[in-house]
Amino acid sequence: MKTLITSNDQTLSSTMDKRLGRAHWFCIYDEELKESTFQINPNIDSMGGAGTKTAELIIELGVKKVISGHFGPKAKEMLEKFDIQMIEVDDDNITIEELISRLNQHSN
């Protein structure tokens, strides 16, 4: 199963970006393969609807779980429709690494 985490940069030591549609990077973590890949957010500068666009991307990527600071109403509606789990983490300093290790603990 794949999880997407919004990230401020493209390494595992980066902190989580608390925004979804305007996040800098997306970390896609595969729980089976224990592999993480980073991709830049193509919607960061869009005039509006960045959250919806990101939800589209998430659905296309086949991700089942998303970790971010906050989900806006439009993104939430789409992600709910596709049964994608949303996890809100209210922590400015938490790293991608830490979130992945929590995910692994959870699945074990």
Binding site: M47, T52, E56, I59, K74
Partner: protein
Amino acid sequence: MTFKIAIASGKGGTGKTTVSVNLYKCLSEKLNDNVQLIDCDAEEPNDFLFFKNAKIKQKEVIQQLVPKIDLQKCTFCEKCSEYCMFNAIPIIPSAKYANVNTSLCHSCGACSVACQFDAISEYPVEIGVMRSYLLPEGDGLIEGKLKIGSPMQTMVIKETKKYVSDNSQIVLFDAPPGTSCPVVETITECDYVILVTEPTPFGLHDMKLMVELLNELEKPFGIIVNKAGLGDNETHQYIEKEGFELLGEIPFMKSYASDYANGNLFKNIPPEIEKTYNNITKKIVSKMNLK
């Protein structure tokens, strides 16, 4: 020729409405009722509250056209989504999903042009209401009121402006606060802008943003300092240093503010304030005659 004036401010609560309704009254007296007032603060239009004898003349629903996607015809090619600069059309080809997010749609019609498969049709959605009022003085008041939950404030203002008659000598546009699209829409066809500010750090900060906008739009403007006597001197220093025209100062008076809050703006106007409005009225009439 109609002289169009916007009453604007960066900061909210500086006195745009107070100035607008008072100038409407003063100018109506001076110009044989040849004045219209347009309340463009579509999120919460309240100019009508100050005219006890206002009678509704006309009421029209304002609509926007939004697209609908026929999933039988849609091939999920995503061309409409690419054309949409507002990201209002999420399409997920793998899930055969296509939808329109009406709260992001700006009714530009680009998606209809983009679709080669005749899958897009448009239907009207209510975004607000235009009301026009007959008043005891002047040519009357027109207001645009946004429907609760709709984000299409700019479009409501644009549609409301279509009901403005060309017959008045002066049209006053009471603008919404801020410096974003709804304000630009209000100001864009005006000949002159009255900036209402208050002598506080917030008032000054937001007035500077407004000055930047007006320079960008190449609009002439003058400033009214409301609630004078409060705050500090920095606003005056700024106006003087930049050489801007100070149209007048309205002193801060608690009794006047409380009359406003009770809807009795035209009762017991303190003589100093009345004098200020009369002076501003004269200046505006001479600007109109220069046009």
